[in-house]
């Protein structure tokens, strides 16, 4: 069916090696010969077999991303950034949804290694056993993570938003708005990014001698809904909430509404991520913006850099800036300060 180098070689009366050179290299082949080969290739509608090429060169020209779920807008945005960067470099991106299941993650990784992908973008390796993490980091393919890996394992690159700074921004903002008792809904301690946000938040709040109430549960809308309900029943003095991500903020808002309270009149709400929905819900959500698209791009750039220069194999680490986006879900409590300078 497909025409191969051999067909072109026969057609032109030259060797396949010459055809290969003519098609790939800029010189090392006589102009005339090259033209003849190119013409024949076009005429025969030649399509190189990339599997064969990959086998011969050891390069597959494909990258992969193993994330929890592409339906999560955070990952969709990230994926788009990653794929754009890959496309520009002539690479393909394979999409894997792991649901954070360790067994799925392991299966994906094995298959990807067998397909000789040249780099993998993963949100985390936290679910893998130490042995699996070691195996991965020693597998030879570049990996970039979106969460800080255990300190014991070397070899992973990372692309991180400045989570600590983001938490600090949120905490500081709420304190400056005059809030004195502020709840923080977050996930399990093991989740590195969330832990950083909590730390930054706590630092800002307690540094201002206000009270930070840390509530842990599942870091999802559902989880936050439950946490919020419980918190409302226990502490009447809370006037503001910082949720560890936007999905949690939406869940928490539902619980607030269900309790017959208003946002921001009764309770200020701040999220993290700045997904598109944050600007659309009522009231629009104040949140910490993460440069999701850029993070995807940055991750692929690192992968590509490491794939093409296997010589120096020290991992790269990239920290991206976050910023506070003030919308209508939060308000100044006692007007001690004006809002100038806060809303940047």
């Amino acid at each position: 069916m497909g025409t191969t180098l051999k067909d072109i070689a026969r057609e032109c009366g030259v060797d396949v090696a010459t055809v290969s050179r003519a098609l790939n290299e800029v010189y090392g082949v006589r102009r005339e010969t090259r033209q003849k080969v190119l013409a024949a290739a076009a005429r025969l509608n030649y399509r190189p077999n990339r599997l064969a090429k990959g086998l011969a060169t050891g390069r597959s020209h494909t990258l992969a991303m193993v994330i929890s779920d592409i339906r999560n807008p955070f990952f969709a945005e990230l994926a788009r950034g990653a794929e754009d960067a890959a496309y520009q470099a002539g690479y393909e991106l394979v999409l894997c949804n792991s649901d954070l299941s360790p067994s799925k993650q392991v299966r994906y990784i094995h298959t990807l290694l067998e397909k000789r992908v040249e780099g993998i973008l993963m949100n985390t390796v936290a679910g893998l056993s130490p042995a699996e993490q070691e195996e991965l980091s020693g597998s030879g393919v570049p990996i970039v993570l979106l969460n800080r890996p255990p300190a014991s394992i070397r070899g992973f690159s990372t692309v991180l938003a400045d989570n600590y700074e983001g938490g600090h921004l949120a905490g500081n903002y709420l304190v400056e708005c005059g809030h004195r008792v502020i709840g923080h809904l977050t996930g399990p301690r093991e989740h590195g990014n969330l832990a950083e946000r909590a730390k930054g938040f706590q630092k800002a709040v307690e540094g201002a001698r206000a009270t930070a109430l840390i509530v842990r549960g599942h870091h999802s809308g559902e989880g936050a809904y439950e946490m919020m309900k419980k918190l409302l029943s226990q502490r009447k003095d809370v006037t503001a909430i910082f949720a560890a991500n936007d999905a949690m903020a939406f869940g928490a808002m539902r619980a607030v509404f269900d309790a017959g309270l208003r946002v921001p009149e009764d309770l200020s709400m701040v999220g993290f991520d700045n997904v598109e929905l944050a600007g659309i819900v009522r009231p629009p959500l104040t949140t910490v913006h993460q440069p999701k698209y850029e993070m995807g791009r940055a991750a692929v750039e690192i992968l590509l850099r490491r794939a093409t220069r296997p010589d120096h194999s020290t991992p790269e680490h990239r920290l991206l800036e976050v910023k506070l986006v003030v919308r209508e879900s939060s308000r100044i409590l006692k007007g001690r300060r004006n809002q100038q300078g806060l809303s940047s």
Copy 2:
């Protein structure tokens, strides 16, 4: 670095052919030999090179999806369904964002064919030239489209929601709610799926001797915002709107709010797709549900079926059911009928 069949063969004192058989086939190899090979493979941490395997067998075990933009929640949902089906079958899915740009689509397709993917899921081929469409359909790899292709081209499979029925449901519902002048915001005539929705809608409305106002523009939130503004300034008698997709409905709602009107008190609004956001905005959007996840699955199932039985190459066509989801953005105008039977 990687251990190969040859290493295992040497280790076990057998031929690579035997190793290959032991690793792949269930019989044709003595039990004992098989065990020995398996043990050695495990010990040496053998990972088959899929590029080599693919070259030898002609099968890449990968599928691809070429869509406009993964950030569109419709496609994210679809992608998840597709990837789940692929994963279960032991296939990988490569993600391509075309923005519907013909040149990007063509470049993606060429690369994918060169990588010998075994099937491609594409939203549409409408942007390609007839020659390109012919080339694609004759390329030998199974293709499933999410839009009806030009009648002139044979060979494409399709997975479609019942767009006509969906439009009909929407039109019929609004008529039964008592609306007599109903606007329909839609896209260009060439867009097959939207055209079907418009047809079904018109049939239902005009069949009931009510007035259907078709407004065309860009099928996006922005486009709908503009259309709606214009419509409001021209026709004061419109009491309901059917938007060709949810994003358009959201845009139209913004225009309604900007004009100082209320939904559904002044204007009923119905969308199409039932993206997650539809249930979250205020007021929650009445819309026609499309089974996006299932469409993704169905598409991959067709691709796989056709990839594994290249014998009968007639395309498959799958039509999926839609249903009306009544929420709070629409209301009964004059109460001529009760809502029973409408909300199913």
